[in-house]
Symmetry: C2
Subunit: 317 residues, 2 copies
């Protein structure tokens, strides 16, 4: 297990370790979107990733990095979202149990998905305290290995492979790489890959105004935790981890915020024009383009689509 900022070799190793257990997701472009925004947009489609989100990269990497001794009692985490599904799937693939603490109000579709992958669920009250204390009890009982969803260098090294693939597979030099930010796992990985594999690109993080802890932290130079974050982009409600923030401060070029109505508009454009299903978090970078927060005119722009796990019966448009 890594205990410092991943090196270029750490990212290569993570990629080798996970390659056969994840999808090398396609990069899609839309002529219509390119004409609307006067730029060349390249969408790295992690909505087509195993378990529907980039989280599978990190989960597989950590689960397969554990020694036999560390893995013997299984793995655990608390999560109401994509990390839970990804971890359950990764554990099942290695043949070890997974224990997931989920808030009792977690979306039914996510609960079902965790069960389908063989995860054992413990429900708790929907507060951070209840989640943490339930997880503590669970660890005492099972001795399972806890895997944090983002504040973990092995997770970061693996999330970095999404942008590594984007840089390798796109046939142009990217001027900009846009990435949503929640806890900072994907963003810190994306920034590291930019630094190692495409140092002339700029990474711009995009964040909902209603959950702008990364924006505030980046400007202040220290972590400013979220207070009552509220956004349709449910994957971005979490606050930055310190390991993530350290990397973000070093290698992210800027962070911008977007309004809720722009997120919904961007999501609708992606559905209607690109014919792909994305979760609201994935629409945040395009929202920044729509609002003019990022100038993409005549530029080659990579956009990381984080995932596609969304309740289709509750679309906001």
């Amino acid at each position: 297990m890594l205990n410092t900022i991943p090196t270029i070799d750490d990212i290569y190793s993570a990629h080798d370790r996970i390659k056969k257990l994840i999808n090398r997701t396609p990069i899609l472009s839309s002529g219509t979107l390119n004409s609307i925004f006067g730029s060349s947009l390249f969408f790295k489609c992690e909505n087509f990733q195993k378990a529907g989100a980039f989280k599978s990269r990190g989960a597989v990497n950590v689960v397969y990095s554990l020694s036999k001794e560390q893995a013997v009692n299984g793995v655990c985490t608390h999560s109401s979202g994509n990390h839970a599904q990804a971890l359950a799937r990764a554990a099942a693939s290695r043949g070890i149990p997974s224990y997931i603490v989920m808030p009792e109000n977690a979306p039914k579709v996510k609960v079902e998905a965790v069960k389908e992958y063989g995860g054992e669920i413990t429900f708790c009250k929907p507060t951070l305290e209840a989640r943490e204390s339930s997880l503590k009890d669970l660890i005492e009982k099972t001795k399972a290995y806890e895997i944090h969803p983002y504040n973990n260098y092995d997770i970061i090294a693996a999330q970095a492979t999404a942008n590594k693939e984007l840089i390798e597979d796109v046939n142009v030099n990217l001027d900009l790489i846009l990435c949503p930010v929640g806890g900072g796992g994907l963003l810190s990985g994306t920034a590291l890959s930019k630094n190692y594999f495409s140092p002339n690109s700029k990474v711009i993080a995009c964040e909902p105004l209603g959950a702008d802890d990364a924006y505030k932290s980046f400007r202040k130079g220290e972590i400013v935790p979220s207070k009552n974050p509220n956004t349709i982009a449910d994957g971005l409600l979490t606050s930055l981890g310190d390991k993530n923030f350290d990397i973000i401060q070093k290698y992210v070029n800027d962070i911008v915020t977007v309004r809720e109505d722009s997120i919904i508009e961007a999501m609708k454009i992606i559905f209607e024009r690109m014919k792909i299903i994305v979760e609201p978090s994935s629409a945040v970078p395009l929202a920044a383009i729509i609002e003019g927060k990022v100038d993409v005119k005549n530029k080659n722009v990579g956009i990381i689509i984080s995932g596609g796990n969304v309740d289709l019966s509750k679309l906001p448009f």
Copy 2:
């Protein structure tokens, strides 16, 4: 313009002609779907095609096959669907006008799309007679060149390129190639490409039970036109063209029918598991697999996804 069944060289020529004006659409697979059905399914994603459907292939080919004299007054057709959008786009790209007769009850989203591509719309009563007589009037007035959506060898040669790309890009030998059938443009092209580029594959056409004229015609050996067809798969309401039927009789291996509930179930699975947006017509082949009408066990199966133009505010699930 072609006046006999397209040869292998005709299909190569059509592909060369349209290549730069269409997308070489990706082939997607889903690990989850493959385990559910115990087979390897390869989805050729024409929902990512220009104007959202395979129809762009045919429209571009015909528009660019016209001589200067034939093209000078523009092109016209009657259509309430994807052919209208594709033709308007192709005409705009060549810089000639397009005139589209649309029934006054055509979905607003399709009307808007035709307008956006610069098509000039004439509305008529929603009957075949009204559509044909309006088109006749329009041709007298404009002298525009009429382009039939499917009963046309240049259209067929171009629709054949979708399956040609599938065969070229997939890295296995396909045992089966499944394709929806409406008027028969896509199916006849798919069958020709099978014959020329993968003769050991079998092409199975999949049709809604509520619009089963191809099924009946194939069994009877002569065209049996649709009577009051009714299906959610709005792209498959049309009856077979004679040029299409001729090819279908020669090169299609079988035609199966599916129920409406299976089409909706298949559509939902594609949305939820594959994270792509498809129109109901595109879900018909997977519906045939769900119903067990096609045995795909341990087989490599290509599936042509015809398009993704669907009203997202009216999803049937």
